[in-house]
C-alpha cells in the first residue's frame, strides 16, 4: 500500500462515522421542516406519515416564527447562556488568581473545587432544586425561617430590640416559577462550570512570565495594575476558549431545564424542540434548523477568535 493511501484508510472510519452521524439526521430534519408532519391528526390522517405530497414550503418556519414561545425561547436561551458565561468567567478569574499562589492545603482546595464539574447534570439539578433551593424544605427555606425566628426573638430584647423590630419578615423565593427557575438553572450550571474555568485559568497562569511580574514589582506597580496589565491580558486566550466551549455546551442545555422547570414556561430552544416533537414534527424540525443556524453563528464567531491558536 502506498504512503498516501494508508493514512487516509486509518482516518476513514472516524471520518465516515462522523459524516453519517451528522448528515443523515440533519438531512431528515431539513426534509421534515418543509413538509406537514404531525404524529396525531384525526382530521388529516395523511399528515401523520412523512411524504413529499404534504409539502409545506416555508410554512413551518412561518408558524414557528409567529409562535410566542419561539421568541421567548431564543431570548431565554441567550439570557441563560450569557449569564452563565459572565458569572463563570468573572468567578473563574478571581478564584484562579486567589488559589494560584501556594498556600497550605492548595492541593486539597483544588480537589474540592473541581468536584462539581464531575457531577452528572441530572443529579446537579435534583440536588439544587430540592435540597438547597426549595422554599420550605431546602436549605434556603430553613435559613429564611431561622432568620425570621431570630429576628422575632430579638425584637423584645432591651436596647437593640428596636433595630430588629424594623426588620421585615423575609419571604423565601420559590425557584419553580418561570423567571426564577431560569435563575435556578443559572445558579446550578454556574456552580458546575466555574471549576472548569478555574482549572483552565490556573493552568494558563502557571505559564505566566514571572520575570515580567518581578520587574513590575520592582517598578512599584500595585497588585491591581499587575493584575490589570499583566495577568488579564495573559488570560485573554484562555477566556476566549472557556467562552467558546461553554457556549457550545450551554446552548444545548437540556437536563437541568427539564428537571427544574418542567411545564412552567421556562424553556430554551432544545426544550421547545422537545415540546414540539411530542406532536408537530414539522415545527420541531424547523425550530431545529433555527437552532443549527444559531449555533453556527456562535461557532463561526468564536472559532474565528480562537481557531488559529488551536493549531499551534
Amino acid at each position: 500500500m502506498s504512503d498516501r493511501k494508508l493514512p487516509r484508510l486509518l482516518q476513514s472510519p472516524a471520518v465516515l462515522l462522523l459524516l453519517v452521524w451528522m448528515l443523515i439526521p440533519l438531512g431528515m430534519t431539513l426534509y421534515f421542516s418543509f413538509i406537514r408532519y404531525v404524529l396525531n391528526s384525526l382530521r388529516r390522517p395523511e399528515w401523520t406519515s412523512p411524504s413529499l405530497s404534504n409539502w409545506r414550503g416555508f410554512g413551518n418556519y412561518e408558524f414557528v416564527l409567529n409562535s410566542k414561545d419561539f421568541l421567548f425561547a431564543i431570548q431565554n436561551s441567550l439570557f441563560i447562556v450569557c449569564s452563565i458565561l459572565f458569572l463563570t468567567v468573572i468567578l473563574g478569574v478571581l478564584i484562579a488568581v486567589l488559589i494560584n499562589k501556594s498556600f497550605p492545603g492548595q492541593g486539597i482546595v483544588r480537589v474540592l473545587l473541581i468536584s462539581p464539574f464531575f457531577v452528572m447534570p441530572a443529579v446537579n439539578a435534583v440536588l439544587w432544586i430540592n435540597m438547597i433551593l426549595d422554599p420550605v424544605l431546602g436549605l434556603q427555606g430553613i435559613a429564611v425561617a431561622n432568620l425570621n425566628d431570630l429576628a422575632a426573638a430579638l425584637r423584645d430584647a432591651p436596647v437593640i430590640g428596636w433595630f430588629f423590630a424594623l426588620w421585615p419578615q423575609l419571604e423565601p423565593i420559590s425557584f419553580r416559577a418561570t423567571q426564577t427557575s431560569a435563575y435556578a438553572v443559572i445558579i446550578m450550571v454556574t456552580w458546575q462550570w466555574t471549576p472548569f474555568a478555574v482549572l483552565i485559568f490556573m493552568t494558563s497562569l502557571q505559564s505566566e512570565d514571572q520575570q515580567q511580574k518581578e520587574a513590575a514589582v520592582l517598578d512599584g506597580a500595585s497588585s491591581w495594575s499587575q493584575f490589570r496589565f499583566l495577568t488579564l491580558p495573559h488570560l485573554g486566550r484562555p477566556i476566549a476558549i472557556v467562552v467558546m466551549i461553554q457556549a457550545i455546551f450551554h446552548l444545548s442545555l437540556y437536563a437541568e431545564i427539564e428537571i427544574v422547570s418542567r411545564g412552567n414556561g421556562n424553556k430554551n430552544l432544545p426544550y421547545l424542540i422537545g415540546e414540539f416533537a411530542n406532536n408537530n414534527i414539522g415545527a420541531a424540525s424547523a425550530t431545529g434548523i433555527f437552532a443549527v443556524i444559531l449555533a453556527n453563528i456562535v461557532a463561526i464567531f468564536l472559532l474565528r477568535m480562537v481557531g488559529k491558536t488551536l493549531m499551534e
Binding site: 482516518q11 464531575f118 457531577v119 466551549i245 432544545p270
Partner: protein, 277 residues
C-alpha cells in the same frame, strides 16, 4: 510607594482562609448530598435534624428496592465502558495518521470534527428517534454505545492528536525500517509510548459518557436506561424522599467524582483541544 514584594498580612493569612472558604463552599452541595443520604426520609426534612441525627445506611441498603439502582448502574457501566473502548479503537488510528502523516487537509478535518460537536443535539432529536425506532434499535445498549461513541469521538481524536504530536517522529520511523507493519507500529510502539495520554483520554471519555444526559434520556425507556435516566425520572419528589434520593444520587456520581480527581490535569488539555498548556 515602592514597597518591594513584602508579603502583606492579607497575603499570608487572608489568602489561605479565603481560598479554603471558596473551596469548601463549592464542595458543600456535594457534602450536603452525602450527609442527607445517611438520614432517614423523615429526618431529612426536619430542621431539628439538620446536622445532628442518627445516621443510617438504610437508604443505601434499600437502593435496589427503591430505585432498581443496580440495573441502571449496570447499564451505565456497560455503555460507558464499551463506548470508550470503541471510541479509542476508531480514534487511535485516526489520530495516529493525523499526527505522523499529516496532509494539507488534516487541519481542516480536525476543525470539521470539532464542528460536529456544535450541532445542537435537539435539532436532530426526531429523526434519531424515528430512525432508531424503525431500525429496531431504540432503547438498546448497542444504540447508546454508538451514540456515546460518536459524540465523544471528536474530543478523543483531538486529545490523542495532541499527545501523539509530542512523540518524536524518528521513533516511529525506526519501527518502519525494522519492517514492522502499521498495526504493529501502533500496538508495539505507539501505544506503549503514549500509554499515559491514552489512559487519560479514556478516563475522560468514560466520565463524559457516564454523565451524558440528552440522548441517554431521550433514546431509552427501560432496557438500556442509564443512571441519568434514573435520576431524571425521579426528579420531583417534593420533599418526600430526600434521604433515599440523596443516596441514589451519591451512588450515581461518587465513583465519577473520584475518578475525576485523578484526571483534572488532562481535562484541561482535553477540553481546550491542547490550546491551553
Amino acid at each position: 510607594m515602592a514597597i518591594v514584594a513584602k508579603p502583606s498580612k492579607l497575603g499570608t493569612f487572608g489568602r489561605p482562609v479565603l481560598a479554603w472558604t471558596v473551596g469548601l463552599l463549592f464542595f458543600f452541595p456535594i457534602f450536603w448530598m452525602v450527609l442527607t443520604s445517611f438520614k432517614t426520609d423523615a429526618d431529612a426534612v426536619k430542621p431539628e435534624h439538620l446536622i445532628f441525627f442518627q445516621p443510617t445506611l438504610e437508604n443505601y441498603l434499600n437502593m435496589t428496592e427503591n430505585y432498581d439502582y443496580w440495573r441502571f448502574a449496570r447499564n451505565s457501566v456497560i455503555t460507558a465502558v464499551m463506548a470508550t473502548l470503541f471510541t479509542l479503537f476508531v480514534g487511535i488510528p485516526c489520530a495516529y495518521a493525523m499526527a505522523f502523516n499529516p496532509s494539507r487537509a488534516t487541519k481542516d478535518v480536525l476543525m470539521w470534527m470539532l464542528s460536529t460537536k456544535m450541532l445542537p443535539a435537539a435539532a436532530v432529536l426526531y429523526p434519531m428517534t424515528f430512525l432508531t425506532k424503525s431500525a429496531g434499535l431504540f432503547d438498546t445498549h448497542f444504540l447508546i454505545i454508538l451514540v456515546l461513541s460518536l459524540i465523544n469521538l471528536p474530543i478523543v481524536v483531538w486529545m490523542l492528536f495532541t499527545y501523539f504530536k509530542e512523540i518524536p517522529k524518528d521513533i516511529i520511523e525506526a519501527g518502519k525500517m525494522d519492517g514492522v507493519n502499521t498495526w504493529g507500529e501502533i500496538r508495539e510502539i505507539l501505544i506503549p509510548l503514549a500509554w499515559g495520554g491514552i489512559a487519560a483520554t479514556a478516563l475522560l471519555c468514560f466520565i463524559f459518557c457516564w454523565n451524558e444526559a440528552y440522548w441517554t434520556v431521550r433514546l431509552t425507556t427501560t432496557n438500556a436506561a442509564t443512571l441519568s435516566k434514573l435520576i431524571e425520572g425521579n426528579r420531583a419528589p417534593e420533599g418526600l424522599f430526600f434521604g433515599r434520593l440523596s443516596a441514589v444520587s451519591a451512588a450515581a456520581v461518587g465513583p465519577i467524582v473520584v475518578l475525576g480527581w485523578f484526571c483534572q490535569k488532562q481535562l484541561v488539555q482535553g477540553l481546550t483541544f491542547g490550546a491551553v498548556k
